[in-house]
Amino acid sequence: MISIQIELDDHTAIQFQEDLLEKIHETGAKGVVIDLSTVDIIDSYIAKILGDVVKMSDLLGAKVVLTGIRPAVAIILTDLGIRLNNISTALDLEKGLAKLKQDLGG
């Protein structure tokens, strides 16, 4: 479970991507929940990094669920024309974990 608590700049976002993949590899995690409830903007660059991290984790055999996307962020992603296709999302952490368990078949 990862909670993003800071304002994401480009550099930090890339670092986060690398750190997460290392961690998945190290621990053999089968599932990851990324909580975005404190993130107040996601622009096209950060959206791309999040989309990429989901695909990359999938390559390592870990399923990612994004949780806590704020209403304003959802509106803006839609305004930007960004679709989080094939990405699992849930309203909050609890529902995210439940979804992950369901997706992992147990």
Binding site: D9, D40, S44, Y45, I75, I76, D79, L80, G81
Partner: protein
């Protein structure tokens, strides 16, 4: 249009993108924009500042409250002396990108804001003005 205080942020690196959007968030909040519009303005600034950084290396974002016919708004100006845009119609298409991004930047900014004007000359640079009216 009557101009009030104007703030500028030079864009020279990735951290300046964060500076510019923090300033935009602060000014839009002070002006009384709602939550979603604050996020729209902040995101638009982020996209414009990143374009400066990616394509022109450096430039400037100016943020200023404006009043036009009694209507209050926030005007964002993005200026750079970069390579310019060859085909503006092409960059305004969703999904078009030369940087490996999502190609959502400029058409996205146009949708996030109420007024969007782009003026670009090859090898001279690009000027973009975007305005959001206070509802």
């Amino acid at each position: 249009m009557i101009m009030e205080t104007r703030s500028s942020v030079p864009i020279n690196n990735e951290w300046d993108i964060v500076q510019a959007r923090q300033l935009g968030r602060q000014i839009s909040r002070e002006m009384g924009f709602g939550h979603v519009d604050q996020a729209r303005i902040t995101t638009a600034i982020s996209e414009l500042a990143r374009n400066i950084y990616l394509y022109a290396n450096n430039g400037e974002i100016t943020i200023e409250p404006i009043v036009n016919l009694g209507k209050k708004g926030l005007k964002i100006t993005s200026r750079d002396k970069g390579p310019g845009i060859k085909d503006i119609r092409l960059v305004m298409q969703d999904g078009y990108t030369t940087s490996g991004g999502l190609g959502a930047g400029l058409p996205g900014v146009k949708r996030l804001m109420d007024i969007f004007k782009i003026d670009s000359t090859l090898e001279k640079g690009t000027n973009i003005v975007a305005i959001k009216w206070l509802r």
